[in-house]
Symmetry: C2
Subunit: 479 residues, 2 copies
């Protein structure tokens, strides 16, 4: 264990966001012990503190997925190469990113298998077996799994060669049913989760054809603003039309005994949301985790023990009381490490509430409570602590959402020319009539690294066709 001098402890811990945002992101990942690069290029190690947050994301998202009627299942990691080739756009889109297994059990395989980049094809094969009649529809499946897409410019959580995700795959009787379900997932599952659990406001809308999922006829997405003004696509929901139904013969007998092709949908969110969480809320002191998704909602820190060890005992008792009241709490009584360094560490880890227990306060039956989001610090009477902490966690949750919404809205402007859009995208989002991008405007934006994130109608609703009159394009630089 290297001894850290006080001078080191006072040195800037992380690069300020305003100085170098990508370096700030890397610093937070390292210093808060969230993730590291894996040994194989583009892969990622998710460390326990970050994984515990991911587990909460999974649990909250999974509950919403089940409430939307989908059932979890598990399909194989390995997919025969020929499956991908059955849908032309799909194979074209994914071929450059595939990892291919050529040897198994010490022998060269007769047909190479790909490591799933997504599972429309293999799940399509089984849907085709399982669906016979209109009574079997809709078939609503979801799986939690790892997928692999070889990345040339990997970035932890945002773009990694292997990532963890959920992928929903459904078969419906009609195009209308498919469209309605794709939209339902976007709103009731994804948007609801992002807003109410992650405290991240999202714009929802329709992707332009160039930005669709490979094989989809319509891709809907949730787009969030990071603290550097760039957009992050947080989740997508696709109508696949009858493309995969045709390729995998997913059909049913309707009420009149006629054979019909299904309409399929797919939808996904991934560990990318961890990147979104970090960049949407984090500040120059580090990560900031919204209470509902925090694995540690409150930390009880022993400032300094007395000779009898009574302050340490109180610290642990306070922790136990909060835990019994349902708060996800951690006790830090490691008094051999200087208090200041421990406090800074918990701040860096973004724990929403810090409770400092020291001899002087305790003599007056008080503790000091610190809000991570605002930095406010105030004394709380011991007998009011549990109630106070519960209230504070709710307050921080809603305040984080308001703050993120205010930041986003302040950095989203309506413009009427491509030049203005590019200028606005230097610091945030621009809304521009899609008509203005008709003749090469999308390419022109692209030359300034600005892309159309999604299309909305004036009232924020989603256009149901590619060239809806009056559509507004939301444009931004993006991850």
């Amino acid at each position: 264990m290297r001894v850290r001098s006080l001078a080191m402890a006072k040195a800037p811990i992380i690069t300020p966001q305003g100085e170098d945002f990508p370096r700030w992101y890397q610093d937070v990942l390292n210093k808060a012990q969230l993730a590291e690069n894996g040994p194989v290029r583009g892969t990622m190690v998710i460390r326990p503190y970050a994984y515990a947050i991911w587990e909460r994301m999974v649990s909250e998202m999974d509950a919403r997925i089940k409430a939307a009627g989908a059932q979890n299942a598990y399909f194989p990691l390995f997919i025969p190469e020929n499956y991908l080739q059955r849908e032309a756009e799909h194979v074209e889109g994914f071929s450059p990113e595939l990892a291919v297994v050529t040897h198994g059990g010490g022998k060269e395989l007769e047909e190479p298998v790909v490591v799933r980049p997504t599972s429309e094809t293999v799940i399509g094969e089984y849907m085709s077996k399982w669906i016979q009649s209109y009574r079997d529809l809709p078939l609503l499946l979801n799986q939690w799994a790892n997928v692999v897409r070889w990345e040339l410019r990997p970035r932890l959580f945002l773009r990694t060669s292997e990532f963890l995700w959920q992928e929903g795959h459904c078969a419906h009787a009609s195009q209308a049913d498919a469209a309605a379900y794709a939209d339902r997932i976007l709103r009731e599952v994804y948007e609801d989760f992002m807003v109410n659990e992650l405290a991240i406001p999202v714009f929802t809308g329709r992707k332009i054809p160039e930005e669709r999922f490979a094989g989809a006829i319509n891709t809907l997405s949730c787009e969030a603003m990071m603290r550097d003004g760039k957009a992050l696509q947080m989740g997508t929901s696709h109508e696949l039309g009858q493309n995969f139904a045709r390729a995998f013969d997913i059909g049913y007998q309707d009420e009149n005994g006629e054979r019909q092709l299904c309409w399929t949908t797919s939808w996904g969110t991934s560990t990318r949301m961890m990147g979104g969480l970090i960049m949407a809320h984090g500040d120059d002191r580090g990560l900031l985790v919204p209470p509902r998704i925090a694995a540690v909602q409150a930390v009880v820190i022993l400032v300094k023990d007395d000779d009898a060890g009574a302050v340490g005992d109180s610290t642990r008792r306070i922790g136990a009381e909060l835990a019994a009241a349902g708060v996800r709490v951690k006790v830090d009584d490691a008094a051999s490490t200087p208090f200041g360094r421990r406090a800074t560490d918990w701040e860096l880890k973004g724990v929403p509430v810090r409770i400092e227990v020291g001899p002087r306060d305790l003599a007056e039956n008080l503790v000091t409570v610190v809000r991570r989001d605002t930095g406010e610090k105030f004394p709380v009477a011991l007998n009011e602590l549990t109630v106070k902490v519960a209230g504070l966690l709710e307050e921080i949750q809603s305040s984080m959402l308001s703050e993120a919404t205010a930041r986003r809205d302040a950095a989203t402007v309506t413009v009427n020319s491509i030049g203005e859009a590019v200028e606005a995208a230097a610091t945030g989002f621009a809304r521009i009539p899609f008509d203005l991008l008709a003749d090469g405007g999308v390419d022109e934006l692209g030359r300034s690294a600005v892309t159309v994130r999604c299309l909305q109608l004036e009232d924020g609703s989603t256009p149901v066709e590619d060239h809806a009159p009056g559509a507004i394009a939301l444009v931004a630089r993006s991850y």
Copy 2:
């Protein structure tokens, strides 16, 4: 939808166990819609009904793992080939089973990567970075993941090329700490889970050297008896000595400032437990799921509706009441399918309690309750149903454990010769003094496909060395 005649419904649904146990197993997998073969040899599709049971296993196991102090994390699927080669026994053991990725992103890779068969090596690499001081020990990690071991004779759930599992990986300061933790996991996590949740009694003990994990100095295991008298290894916990610590330089500075090597452990259980669940409890009517692990604990079946639909309404109301009382319940009001066929289906799926709602019973404020395990059928007054069902679920859980224990114990005999052991293993387990196997006895058993499952001492405790005086070998045919 093909019409099924009554004659078909009466035909035997599954092969009786006594006639052909492997076919019975396949029939249960198919008819109860548990799993299917994947398109790539040896892979598996886990269907929603089985996956929901697996989710409950994960949740119960995960709680015990966390209670034992381990934290979840996630490490990459892909491991550089050279990592495996650093531990000689490990690479020798796993080489024949590896799947190798040679191409990524459209190019041949400079160094092929293997798809993890287990993660000691890659996790060892990170432990080496993360552990500096004795204060960082023990480091207790676990991950839920998929792994790949190429299988030449795959069998759904029991031996598949890809399977889902948890793998714990820990570093300790001393051999004694490592041994104690490996044993703690075996008992407090694995045995406790298997006995109390799965209602499967297990023998625990030490593997003989030939049966150890590749790279371990000691492997402990839980061995259960299936209904055909064969053994299934349900989980293992390994002391890895300093083998991986040496290979990956996992060390720490002790309290005197001296550099020491760690002692590591690893431990795992997998979707194989689903196979164990099916074969330990299932009978000629199909699957039988213990209430605590059942995704569906009770099914409320509408026998036949009346013209006004009142019986259907009651069926749904009873379901809602049970759900509100915390019972995991399913309502089956699909009256267009004959009642008998639906009842048989739920029996096949092993739902512990069936509640039949018909017009005649209902007129007297009664329903008919059927226990899946014993087949007992009795009327229950509506106003007593919730309490009755809750009690019945507990009773079935404990009765299933007693039954499984009685079956196992009746089929476990103590013998004093290899010949008797082979004879006993035709229908169950044999306990034989390990000394009797000293001179080629293990090989002799092997010629009759009988193996040493584990070693125990007379009192059932685990020997702490390979040749403990008085050790008893538990031998059996096995999966």
